[in-house]
Assembly symmetry: C2
Homo-oligomer: 190 residues x 2
């Protein structure tokens, strides 16, 4: 395993054990068996390292979006969207500790925000991707012609993100599968 | 101003300056001009104190829900819901630092989760309240008869919560007012 991989693994483990604020580069470097200087050779800072954990170690949204895009124009749209909603819920649930830890740490957040702005990316991208897919489905006549793809994507991704966060505070009253089918049906109105 | 009020003010200020992890009871007690022992007489722990800040010092969801309930059955439902969505967005934006700080701190989260379970409350309650209001509007014939009040409430509250959190990482591409009107229209389909 490369040094970089060992560092990402150690960071994931440290976040799980100690939370973002306790996952220091000192602790991560020691667990990865390297110096802090070497860690900083691979990652500009904690924000870049934590982003790597998010994108490389969590069940990612990108594959779920790719599956949805591949299935566009065929099959059962409601069933495909429900599967996607469950994948997004799982991703946001796993990502919640890192995302919240970044948001709650003013200086880490400022650096992360700057990094996102310079790379022209961010956590809003999945909404845009889902909106594109829904627009294609509408053009193919597979949704209500009155569907607003941007609003529908904002609602669906938001509902997943919110439920993922809520589940840390309270047990949801309903099963994930039933909930997912319900929000998809409400957006598609079919 | 009572000691309790001074403590809640000091806690709000400390969270804003230092984040949840830096808002220690020692620091808060000193700023409030009281001992830590007196602070603990008023609040069982940080989790109870931070909940008081959330409920007593932030523009709360409860008044916005009450306004919506009062307006039920009359006036322009889409306009009223859009106003409510903007109020929820503002609340979640202000509450994000505290909510994220709790979620990112494993031991604080465990105590907060326990406190919520014993008081039978939690951050999911606004979804249930909004669902009740939407069910009443549907009974009054003011929505599509096919509207699913629970799913619609989950989608709307989720979209607000998500956008509030996203705004800490990236600037939204659209205006809050336009976005709010769009998600409400997508849920009501009118």
């Amino acid at each position: 395993m490369s040094t970089r991989e060992r560092i990402v693994d150690a960071a994931e483990q440290a976040i799980r054990e100690f939370g973002i604020s306790g996952a220091t580069t000192k602790r991560i470097a020691r667990a990865a068996g390297c110096s802090e200087a070497l860690l900083y050779k691979h990652f500009d800072g904690k924000e870049a390292l934590f982003l790597a954990v998010l994108l490389e170690r969590m069940p990612a949204l990108a594959p779920a979006l790719a599956r949805l895009r591949l299935a566009a124009g065929q099959g059962d749209l409601a069933a495909d969207l429900t599967r996607f909603v469950l994948a997004a819920l799982e991703f946001y649930t796993r990502a919640a500790t890192i995302a919240s830890g970044m948001l709650a740490d003013p200086s880490l957040l400022a650096r992360f925000r700057h990094m996102l702005a310079t790379t022209n990316t961010g956590p809003h991208m999945p909404i845009l991707s889902l909106a594109e897919i829904l627009a294609a489905e509408r053009r193919a006549g597979r949704t209500d012609p009155g569907l607003d793809p941007g609003a529908a994507a904002s609602l669906l991704m938001g509902a997943c993100y919110h439920r993922a966060n809520l589940s840390y505070f309270v047990d949801p009253p309903d099963k994930d599968e039933d909930w997912a089918a319900g929000v998809v049906a409400a957006v598609l109105r079919r």
